[in-house]
Symmetry: C2
Subunit: 157 residues, 2 copies
DNA sequence: TTGTGTGCAAACGGTTTGCATCTCC
DNA sequence: GGAGATGCAAACCGTTTGCACACAA
């Protein structure tokens, strides 16, 4: 399964999504559309877990099973629409896979779980450098910084 | 539980480990010693999962339960002896927590699972910069690059 | 002696899978 | 019409926990 990069999905949304899916032998279903919509509209750029996806869809009156959610997420990760994040909370998060230059990273407070997102081109450059050095085709990278936020530091005193 | 950094553990090993544990109200047991030994001797610097730890100990005729292994790993992470890694394989890995300057990162082949370790001071600098900017106390950081290694690329053709 | 650590077995929680049914192409 | 998608329930698998017993301090 090969990923095909997409400049902007939000413009001509359903048509693009459909042809992208069909290219690889997949189908556009209302469930897949609703899941992707969540990422594009309500939670633009933010990461979501499968459980959060189900909860928010159900708030909108849409009931989608976990098996469908997980299967849809996998398909979209493989198509390059989403990226999978490991933030060390025992579950996976997913977010829109923006082009590399805009890619952001995560600063996590190990005490309260607050996640702060940031950008740093140096990181992208480092991943590209190392991948090339080792003869890898670069797909993705994740940079997660762990620490204790100022509020939690104050609470510890 | 506050972590106390340790310059080098391998020198006067058991005594240092013992006093470190005792300081925090923990005890030195043969199980904890054997688990840490694995990281220091057999797998110096390499990351291990709970399952790999049990397998290697059992090869040496030592049978330690998973509950003990997990509890020991948590204690050592909290003492700052080990760091916990998320390499996105659905389980956690642990490795000796070396001082920040020597910290290494991971380049993972998503096809065959090969993990290549590399160093890049830029990463450490970026984590320190962002943590300071946001008022966080820096504890740790993880940089994982995903790609397809040259062998797998060849196989795909 | 006492409170921490251990092993066992059972529970847990997120994720995956088998199967009957449904739906997009 | 047929391959792919869905929902349900059960299986999975890494990890955690309750409890009785063992052992370090």
């Amino acid at each position: 399964m090969v990923s095909k990069k997409l400049e902007s999905l939000s413009d001509e949304h359903p048509e693009i999504l459909k042809s992208l899916l069909n290219q690889e032998g997949f189908r556009l279903t209302s469930q897949r559309q609703k899941i992707l919509d969540l990422f594009e509209t309500t939670f633009q750029g933010h990461h979501l877990s499968a459980e959060e996806i189900q909860r928010h869809l159900s708030k909108q009156g849409e009931s989608i099973s976990f098996s469908t959610i997980y299967r849809a997420l996998h398909v979209m990760v493989n198509l390059g629409l989403l990226r999978e994040l490991e933030l060390s909370e025992g579950r996976k998060f997913y977010e829109l896979s923006t082009p590399f230059v805009e890619q952001h990273h995560h600063l996590v407070c190990v005490q309260c779980g607050t996640v702060h997102e940031f950008e740093d081109d140096i990181i992208t450059q480092s991943s590209a450098r190392e991948a090339e050095l080792q003869g890898f085709s670069l797909l993705n990278c994740q940079f997660t910084v762990y620490g204790i936020c100022s509020e939690c530091k104050a609470d510890l005193e």
